[in-house]
Amino acid sequence: MTPAFEKLQKHLKQLPGLGYRSSERIALHLLVEKPAQLPALVTALEEAARAVRRCTRCGNLAETELCAICADERRDRSVVCVVEHVPDLVAIERSGAYRGSYHVLHGKLSPIHGVGPDELNLAALRARMESGEVGELILALSNDVEGEATCHYLTEHLPASAGSAVKVTRIGFGLPSGGGVLYADSVTLKSALEGRRSYS
């Protein structure tokens, strides 16, 4: 292998989900097997790097000041769904069940990984709450120790908690739809039982 090839492979290997073999395969594919695809890929990378940035309001991917969701007048801005990462937002969007707006934290509190409140996209959220446009905050963070701690932190340290009328809710944890009780693991079953509601 040549030095330039090895340099390319080294950079590819640093990408998430790629190991030594897969980075080698991709490098060979781009340089030897399908070199015709290369210019288009380079252009796409350059264009994306130039154009894509964070939405100043919610932290979602955007190409203008606001992302497509924040710019959409039909979305309910008084309801804000707080998620950890952009893919979480995409998943909720795909469900089609939600017509409010979002706020992407780009992480959760985890001192082990060096993530504190300063690393999260909190200033923008605080500004949104202070503006008074938010009526309900839905916490859609993961159901683990770090997600739990982040929820506590948010409820204690946002203007919402300061006696204002903002309603704070957390999404439910329970059985996957279409799944039977039989195949759910014991931890999920327990939270499903704890989160039961009256049926009428």
Binding site: L109, S110, P111, I112, G114, G116, P117, D144, V145, E146, E148, A149, T150, H152, Y153, E156, H157, D185, S186, V187, K190
Partner: protein, 361 residues
């Protein structure tokens, strides 16, 4: 539960071994250093995917190999005939139960109980609190999924809080966020340990009485690091401890500093019990553990006796034998065959990692 067949591949010094167990008594005989304990270790690995010798994965795999594998065929009270396959690699473990991959420890732990009697058990009486906590946590978590979940949550939240303290930039707000999760998990652990030790203590008292003629009552006592047991007051304790925790850069108080002690005639066994009493205490503890597993799950644990019979004098050996459940399967090791009065054993000879059944022993 009965272990009907155990197959090992590249496990420690055992290149390949297949044991077909008939009946309820198997004896592995051989000189020191031949691999008898390795075979018991493999059988004990079934319960919690952990070695009773507290070993790293790397040590379990034969030197120069990268995967150790074991397959067990079990006769199980609730599941019927069950095949379990465990693969151990340097960095990972893989578990298959009846041809289905098991990915969550919570779905598996406690299904296949075994209890190991080993000479290292004396450390439970004499050794550090960490060893006792480890034993207690494994015993309770095996029978209570809620306890396991609380333990996992507690360890994770504690690690996060300690990382904050260590970084030296800890802010009250962030500490509070993790304490909110830490306190309820701690409360659950304390409650679980208190109830568990009460039951295990009663079982130990009964087992000890069978092992020792002179009716010296033996028991277990819980020494919680926090006397309070409700989440609210634990939260207050954690908050009050922040200044000191920050100085030491770690969480100083909590169930991760819990301990329990053994008593004989109401005095601390660690300081006052004789060598023989301490040995009887750990045997009684293991018998209590076996009884607890059976009581809680309805599954009879397999008893694995690592060189224990040889260490006891004939009178104590007889009493130990009469104290164990006659329906349980016993797999024992020793350098010489046991007395005829302990029943008919199926004998395997172990030499340099190879196992052969000895016929007409």
């Amino acid at each position: 539960m009965r272990l009907a067949k155990l197959t090992l591949h590249h496990f420690r010094n055992v290149g390949f071994a297949a044991l077909e167990c008939r009946g309820r008594q198997q004896f592995l005989v051989g000189a020191n250093g031949q691999g008898k304990t390795n075979l018991l270790e493999a059988a004990g690995f079934l319960t919690a995917l952990r070695s009773f010798r507290n070993a790293d994965n790397k040590l379990l795999v034969t030197h120069t190999q990268h995967t150790a594998a074991m397959t067990c065929v079990l006769e199980h009270e609730r599941r019927g005939e069950t095949h379990v396959t465990i693969k151990v690699r340097h960095e990972s473990k893989e578990l298959w139960c009846d041809q289905a991959r098991v990915t969550k420890l919570a779905d598996y732990l406690g299904q296949f109980p075994t209890v190991v009697f080993s000479s290292q058990d004396l450390q439970l009486v004499r050794g550090s609190p960490a060893g006792r906590r480890r034993w207690l946590d494994l015993t309770l978590a095996a029978m209570d999924a809620g306890y396991l979940r609380a333990l996992q949550t507690y360890s994770r939240a504690l690690a996060e809080r300690n990382a904050l303290l260590k970084a030296g930039r800890a802010v009250d707000a962030e500490l509070a966020a993790f304490e909110q999760t830490l306190a309820p998990a701690a409360a659950q652990l304390i409650a679980g340990r208190e109830a568990g030790l009460r039951t295990l203590g009663a079982l130990l008292t009964a087992a000890y009485a069978k092992l020792c003629d002179d009716a010296e009552p033996a028991s277990l006592g819980y020494e919680p690091n926090f006397a309070e047991a409700d989440a609210e007051s634990l939260l207050v304790r954690l908050e009050a401890g922040r200044a000191r925790d920050l100085q030491f850069r770690t969480t100083l108080a909590g169930p991760h500093r819990d301990d329990f002690h053994f008593t004989v005639r109401r005095t601390a066994a660690k300081d006052f019990a004789s060598e023989g009493q301490q040995r009887s205490l750990v045997l009684a503890l293991r018998l209590a553990q076996a009884a607890w597993f059976q009581e809680r799950s309805g599954v009879r644990p397999v008893l694995l006796c690592d060189d224990v019979l040889g260490e006891l004098d004939p009178a104590r050996r007889r009493r130990f034998w009469s104290a164990i459940d006659p329906e349980s399967q016993v797999i024992a090791t020793g350098t010489s065959l046991p007395d005829a009065e302990l029943g008919a054993w199926q004998v395997f000879e172990v030499a340099d990692g190879a196992v052969t059944e000895k016929v007409n022993a």
